[in-house]
Symmetry: C2
Subunit: 249 residues, 2 copies
């Protein structure tokens, strides 16, 4: 880490400096001067209780948000008053990239549990980016990587069974937690079965049944929303199992 932070910053700066996620939502390797030029545009972190709405679908876009703690979901109501869970955000994730183009948030962002997020005014961030290539690149890479991973993941899921979808989902969560320094084998997931189903395109019954199957196979241990991954290799195998159905030899 290059930011020693031995100067005295105001409370916001010290909050950001002490936030171990700064390498995710801000570019790594910022010089203290660069860091100081970003801090002034940040507001105080926003605290959200479970089910609180961070943004309402359709509201004009002005801010990106960085997740500090907790987790949130994006819920999109499509034309038929039918709602879909279209994204999940974990600590370190940036929220709002998909709102830049349309000019308004394409879905509501709802806290899945007690959460805390930072608000980043996009205009000023963008303007700062013109003078700070590191920051610009960081944002570009972040949105591009998100897009790329999502595209591949969703296209893979389209032709897979419920087992493969769930295994893939769990493994990808596990990987996210690992990268953020949490345990990759044990985590709490604040999503209901219905949430997971909506996100993966399955019914909540199927989600429950499939989890029960996994448990029966000693692949994992679930109690309510507490997940213990027991056989990572086995789950990984399921997650990347090629097709929809095992072809008969």
């Amino acid at each position: 880490m290059s930011n020693q932070g031995n100067k005295v910053h105001d409370s916001l700066a010290s909050q950001c400096l002490s936030c171990y996620l700064k390498a995710l939502c801000l570019p790594p390797d910022l010089t203290p001067e660069q860091f100081d030029s970003i801090i002034p545009i940040l507001d105080a972190p926003i605290r959200l209780d479970k089910r609180d709405h961070l943004v309402q679908q359709g509201v004009a876009f002005r801010y990106l948000f960085a997740v500090r703690t907790g987790s949130l979901k994006q819920v999109t109501a499509d034309t038929n008053s039918d709602t879909l869970l279209t994204a999940v955000y974990l600590p370190g994730d940036l929220i709002g990239f998909d709102a830049i183009g349309p000019g308004h948030y394409p879905g509501s962002i709802v806290a899945l549990e007690l959460s805390s997020v930072c608000r980043l005014p996009f205009e000023r961030l963008d303007e700062l980016g013109t003078r700070m290539p590191i920051l610009r690149r960081h944002l570009q890479r972040n949105i591009s990587r998100t897009m790329q991973e999502e595209r591949l993941r969703l296209h893979q899921l389209l032709s897979r069974t419920a087992e493969a979808r769930l295994a893939y989902f769990l493994m990808s969560l596990s990987e996210c937690f690992r990268r953020r320094g949490y345990s990759s084998r044990h985590f709490r997931l604040a999503m209901s079965r219905s949430d997971i189903g909506s996100y993966l395109g399955l019914t909540h019954e199927t989600v429950g049944r499939t989890l029960a199957t996994f448990q029966a196979q000693q692949l994992l241990d679930v109690k309510a929303r507490d997940y213990h991954l027991l056989d990572m290799a086995g789950l990984e195998r399921l997650a990347s199992s090629t097709g929809r159905r095992q072809k008969r030899a």
Copy 2:
């Protein structure tokens, strides 16, 4: 259109000026001066025959590409030597946003038919963007909108039937063609049934069968790769039909 182009440009400039797609791959409403500062970084258009590879999966990212004519597909080989069709590009589309983050192209780009594309050096485009907010915004919006539409579309498809997936696919193509000034009711699609299946997560048999069903219902008329949409309202209804199965009354 604000670019009158009454100055004499070199051949590249005039090619771009005469390209009716410039409002898609370049920002609309460029002043002649702005236009002139973008032209120098463009290369001569690249011509591709059917099945020609524009880029190979894994190659280092350096260029975005703009489709002038024809159509291309992105083919991604995942870990299991299993390949997926992860994107389709039509005239006016920009290719390569998903390569910025990873630093290399996440899939091969292959021409579906005789096509022509413009090569845009990303570094120089990005650098130009720092001094030209219009250009910067245009790129940001483009990538963001792509991401947003794709996210929503794929999540919707995950829980829908083959009929809904295909109807959705056809309507979205129709809309693309309409926006580009082509007929929205009649078009040729250079993709095979297998391509479509891979893109939508269906088998090629199911794609063919479903198209046959549509034809029997007078919704459309398909011969080989020639599509006539007959009942747009009916297709639209199918495309946005809520769920997987019609619930019993």
